[in-house]
């Protein structure tokens, strides 16, 4: 068990000591960095490929159908077929595009998505670099994807793509703030921005129990950040607007696709690290626990996609600014109080306070909403009477 637990740590030591045999120290460091990067990228790519497969299987099962089951046993080679199809497609460039923006957008959306994995730990010694502002790093770098969306929308030279891109940007910006507040609640308790220390600083129970509001907000915002249903308005085809990635084909589209799934994985990883206890858990090695928790959150995301209809753009923004943000702020204040007062009972004070806050919030929402019986549309212009 201890061997398995420290598997990657031991591997690291093994390789670096072997390299030290014939390389100077800076060479060893450089080589280790290179190996880590390559290993991480390979892991991510395989994970994302099979994430698409898993999603289609889960969605299929929710809809009472089998999902991919043709390509290979149980359809396991489906991702290879998808990737191959995307790669061999002709990458057409429409005529009215702004070429530098158009070409940079897919690159700029994948790069930050991959970059955050430099600081995400999968186990106590399994993080490429453990900087002490890791959480800030993740949030900041993820925001660059917003710029890339706008570039994709604008560079396409298509009015509807621009509208779709702008909507996507509005959505992503709106959901970053409540996410930051949710994360802030955890940082208060664990006292550090470093992801490794956050996990280590957590008490024996998952913080989702002590800060359920933060957990729920984080879940919702993470789904919204990766443009997943029910927040996938920017990519919806049954709406009028075409979406920011319509003019992209082949490998360029694959980049957008890749970025979306990587962001899903990142979001799930952050929720697992901050609210579900990270890699902590009995018996099994830490990285296995981490993966279990991440996949649990991912399954939740697939479940949401298969069940809920889509929110309209004004409802989406309303949800974030009028509900999640105030809730997040109240949550931080209350959690700060509870933490400083050192109340006994583990997670119970936090849980109780959260239930009270949610009840109050629910009451406020109900008062603010008119009765559903008859709500007329905004008058707008009068109908021409025949």
């Amino acid at each position: 068990m201890p061997f398995l637990n420290n598997l990657f740590g031991n591997l690291q030591d093994l390789i670096s000591s072997w390299l030290a045999g014939f390389l100077p120290q800076w060479g060893v460091d450089l080589a280790m960095m290179a190996i880590t990067t390559v290993a991480l990228l390979a892991f991510l790519v395989v994970v994302v490929m099979y994430l698409t497969y898993l999603e289609r299987k889960v969605l299929g099962r929710i809809a009472d159908r089998p999902g991919p089951n043709r390509v290979g046993p149980l359809g396991l080679f489906q991702p290879f077929a998808d990737v191959l199809k995307l790669i061999i497609k002709e990458a057409t460039t429409p005529q009215g595009v702004d070429y530098p923006t158009y070409i940079l957008a897919p690159i700029l959306i994948v790069a930050p998505a991959l970059l955050v994995y430099a600081v995400i730990p999968f186990g106590p010694r399994m993080v490429p670099t453990d900087i002490n502002v890791a959480l800030l790093f993740v949030v900041a770098i993820s925001s660059v994807a917003t710029l890339a969306l706008l570039m994709g929308g604008w560079g396409s030279g298509n009015k509807y793509s621009l509208l779709g891109g702008m909507r996507a940007v509005a959505q992503m910006i709106s959901y970053e703030l409540p996410l930051a507040f949710a994360f802030l609640g955890v940082v208060l308790v664990t006292g550090s921005l470093s992801l490794v220390k956050i996990v280590e600083g957590q008490p024996g129970y998952p913080l989702a129990l002590a800060q359920p509001i933060g957990f729920l907000i984080a879940l919702i915002c993470v789904v919204a950040e990766s443009n997943r249903a029910p927040f996938d308005l920017p990519e919806a085809e049954s709406e009028l607007v075409a979406g920011y990635h319509t003019e992209y084909g082949g490998v360029r589209f694959a980049m957008f696709f890749l970025a979306e799934y990587i962001e899903m994985f990142t979001g799930s990883a952050m929720v697992a690290l901050l609210f579900l206890g990270g890699w902590r858990g009995p018996i099994l090695p830490p990285y296995v626990w981490m993966l279990i928790k991440v996949y649990a959150v991912l399954f939740f995301m697939f479940w949401l996609r298969g069940t809920f209809p889509r929110l309209r753009v004004d409802q989406l923004m309303g949800l974030s600014w009028k509900f999640l943000l105030p809730l997040g702020m109240v949550n931080v204040i209350v959690m700060a109080f509870i933490d400083k007062l050192h109340l006994p009972g583990g997670f119970l004070p936090g849980l109780a306070a959260s239930i009270v806050i949610l009840a109050v919030a629910g009451g406020v929402v109900r008062i603010g909403r008119r009765s559903p019986a008859v709500r007329t549309a905004r008058p707008g212009l009068r109908v021409k009477e025949a």
Partner: protein
């Protein structure tokens, strides 16, 4: 104030959510719809003209292809019109009960499709569609058993029905009816209380009752605006007069109310089916001597409560075996008259939902 221009946008005729080849030209002020002009006719096949060259019996297959989702109902409306025109007496009882059974099964199938595809437009990734289509599969299997064809049965004909149902039909219907209520409950549980669904459909596409009646709108659209008008009770045809059911009415006037009306109608259909099955008598299924239909000169108009609303056939005869004039009062055409009123003032995203809640089939609109 800023002087803004309105934007003209074209939706369709190829569009994933327009339920057929239907085109709308929207005039937008920002995101709000200021005007809507529907264009259809892409599926116009000239059925009314073609019918003048064929005998009354040969026109039955044309009726399947009107609202192709609910084939049996169209057959029934046409059969009633021809029977009225020809002055045929009462049909054999078994035929009448079989007609009612088929009509109500059609209503179930149609509402399954309507609800499923409305949710597809809302973005619920295919799950409700597939659940509803699975139920519809059971129903169209029954149609295939009875008539040989799933979607275009041509089963209900002037004089009765084409042939008696095979012996495995009735047990299969009973089996379906046993599990249908739990399916409707499942759908209800999944969808009716869903926050997002309610937020997207409540207050969307409001149609006040006086306007609905003035526009000649019928079916779930009318009943969701609070007008309890159902042809099955207003002018009972076939054996509906002897069956016990409620007319489902909602007061919400919006898309959500229409959805609720359809769910309610599905439950009522199950109720009607159970009664019809219990009372189904033995006997012939086709009236005597209905080989060559040559009605005396005159005209007749017969209407039924098709799943989408009131479907009427206006037939004029000049004593020959072919109809002199064959007109179809199309449900969806009349319901489309309300589209513009309902969409003005709403956002673009709502137009798709309103169209889905009206539930049109272009085969009927264009004929």
């Amino acid at each position: 104030m800023l002087r803004t221009e309105t934007l003209s946008i074209n939706m369709g005729p190829q569009h994933p959510s327009t339920h057929g080849v239907f085109r709308m030209v929207l005039t937008l002020d920002g995101e709000r719809v200021v005007d809507l002009v529907p264009h259809f006719g892409y599926l116009h096949r000239g059925i009314e003209k073609l019918a003048e060259g064929r005998t009354y019996l040969q026109n039955v297959p044309f009726t399947d292809r009107l609202d192709y989702i609910s084939g049996m109902s169209n057959n029934l409306a046409y059969a009633l019109a021809v029977e009225k025109l020809a002055g045929m007496g009462p049909m054999p009882e078994r035929a009448e009960y079989l007609r009612v059974i088929m009509a109500e099964l059609t209503r179930l199938a149609n509402h399954c499709v309507a609800i499923g595809f409305l949710l597809n437009d809302l973005g619920a990734f295919f799950t409700p569609v597939l659940y509803c289509l699975r139920q519809r599969e059971y129903i169209v299997d029954l149609f295939e058993m009875a008539s040989g064809s799933r979607m275009t049965p041509s089963y209900i004909r002037p004089g009765g029905v084409a042939g008696d149902v095979p012996p495995e039909f009735l047990p299969a219907v009973r089996k379906l009816l046993a599990q249908m209520p739990s399916f409707i409950d499942q759908l209800d549980q999944l969808l009716t209380g869903n926050e997002i669904l309610m937020a997207r459909m409540q207050g969307v596409g409001v149609l006040p009752p006086e306007r609905a009646v003035a526009l000649g709108v019928t079916g779930p659209l009318l009943r969701a605006s609070g007008v309890p008008y159902d042809v099955r009770t207003a002018e009972p045809y076939s054996v509906y007069g002897q069956l016990d059911f409620d007319v489902v009415t909602e007061q919400g006037q919006d898309a959500y109310a229409r959805y609720l009306v359809r769910i309610g109608e599905m439950r009522q259909s199950v109720r009607i089916l159970e009664q019809a099955l219990a009372r189904l008598p033995e006997g012939p299924v086709m009236a005597e001597g209905v080989k060559r239909i040559r009605p005396p000169a005159g005209e007749a108009y017969a209407r039924i409560e098709a799943p989408k609303g009131e479907l009427g056939f206006y037939l004029v005869s000049d004593g020959t075996p072919n109809p002199y004039r064959y007109h179809i009062r199309a449900t969806s055409l009349a319901n489309l008259g309300a589209l513009r009123d309902m969409c003005i003032g709403h956002l673009v995203a709502d137009v798709v939902i309103i169209l889905g809640s009206i539930d049109i089939t272009l085969g009927e609109v264009d004929r």
